[in-house]
């Protein structure tokens, strides 16, 4: 009961806040692909893998008063920042979650931009294809992003790194 909510809360606690909805979506997806047992279902949307279930869960946590959502006006767009509240900490303490320690992965993900995580998560979405086809697919589904060769090479290295960390 509410275990999946608690898992997300634990993530926010480890991340010490997350900036941006897109970044949040991609972080959880990449963690899932690293076998961290989050259960939110993902499908492919505008910015790559996206989970309606995660959006809903985060909204519920905000409604419960466990997360604080701050909408920041960045002049040409809005950004949403999430931090855990005191009530959220109390809620989390009531659970003993069966999760591996993934703090290092969270730190690595947090240090990256949402554009980079969009690329990484899109590559992971097509990871059952051979690498060459994965790259082709990234360009096919995201022609407007114009990801460079350098970014793609960095993404490949990052995927290896984060899976091993």
């Amino acid at each position: 009961m509410l275990t999946n909510h608690a898992k997300i809360m634990q993530f926010f606690s480890m991340a010490n806040g997350v900036t941006g909805r897109k970044k949040l979506q991609k972080m959880i997806y990449i963690l899932q692909k690293c076998n961290i047992p989050f259960e939110e279902k993902y499908h492919f949307y505008v910015y790559g893998p996206y989970s309606e279930e995660l959006t809903l869960r985060v909204e519920e946590l905000c409604n419960f008063g466990f997360l604080d959502e701050i909408k920041e006006d960045k002049s040409n767009y809005f950004q949403y920042n999430y931090t855990i509240t005191n009530e959220g900490e109390v809620f989390l303490q009531q659970f003993s979650l069966d999760m591996p320690n993934y703090q290092v992965k969270v730190d690595k993900l947090k240090a990256k931009s949402s554009r980079f995580l969009e690329l990484v998560s899109t590559m992971l979405f097509f990871d059952d294809f051979p690498l060459k086809e994965t790259i082709e697919k990234v360009h096919t589904v995201k022609p407007k992003q114009k990801f460079t060769e350098l970014e793609i090479t960095e993404a490949i290295q990052f995927i290896e790194e984060i899976k091993q960390s």
């Binding site: 897109k22 279902k41 949307y45 505008v46 008063g65």
Partner: protein, 431 residues
Amino acid sequence: MAYRDEQLSEEKVFKDPVHRYVHVRDRVIWDLIATPEFQRLRRIKQLGTTNLTFHGAEHSRFNHSLGVYEIVRRIINNFQDRPHWNKEERLLCLCAALLHDLGHGPFSHSFEKVFKLDHEYFTQQIIVGDTKVNQVLERVNPGFSRDVADVIAKTYKDKLVVSLISSQIDADRMDYLQRDAYFTGVSYGHFDMERILRVMRPIEDQVVIKSTGMHAVEDYIMSRYQMYWQVYFHPVTRSAEVILSKILQRAKVLFEAEDFAFKLEPKHFLSFFNEDVKLADYLKLDDSIVFYYFQQWQEENDTILCDLCERFMNRHLFKYVEYSPNQPIDKWMELSGLFVEAGIDPEYYLVLDSSSDLPYDFYRPGEEGERLPINLLMPDGEVKELSRQSDIVEAISGKRRTDHKLYFPKDRIEALTDERIKHRMKEILYN
């Protein structure tokens, strides 16, 4: 003549209560409908447990799939010779429309939740895997099955094609709203689809609506809003779904227990319990098989499984109270403790269920949205987002409505002999 262009000697029609007729002329479509994987959809109800609330809701995924195909067929007919429309994509669109729900299983929502499955994954597997559907598609041309799977997964290169099947105003939703309204008998869910189809226009990477059709679209969005809250999230239907999920959860727990042996080997469920569901096993399951097991499980040596199955089969459902997320968590913990004290396992008999819907989500450039908006084509050729033109749509744009309910067996509480526990339980539940 190439198989992809082959036409039936005369048009075939399916009589349909929503669209009057579903027209088939392409040999490929006719062959796809005849495959066992597509015929299986006849044995899966479109609305799962909704028939326990609205008794007319007995229609199947087969009906809906044909309906979506028919709507896309009509849209494409209207798009012929319009700029931006690539006629080469016609058959691909029709196949994707027909097959978009192919991976649904019986009571998908509950099965997916308990066994951590995803019907979209199985749709992909049926289309690209070793199936009759795949054989038909690959006869069109090698790699065609992959293209159909990509359109359904929203990863196909041509976003205009994808938007016909999945967007905020797509053929899928236009069919299910009308069909579900028809079969449930509710008066919501009706809108002027003919009008919407007439004002749809293809542009570079999406479908837009001529601004003169805005009011028809407003009506469609309101229908969607009403249907979600009046039909899809009906609390009684959700009660049945809660029980169904708990049956599956209990059966899995018993399967994993070393000291329990089923009287009837649950062979159709084995791969589900082992969380290693092969496509062949998945395709064998349908509504009738599930009902057969639920009937049989009423005689198993487990009081929880027997009771839950009896409740589901005889519509002896859980009652519910509204649950406020702001309620102190210690009350909830106390209630759960009282259930344990009373010998009613809260894992199966005290369930929080949440429903949530976002009737229309706008997207403004630069904002962190994920859904493409509905765009209007203005008389001067400019494209404007719907909620900026429509006050009605603006009023509900981006506003999610969420509803939390706590489900429990009221009859078990009423039957308690310990007045202290009973009184305190009721106090927490009803105050």
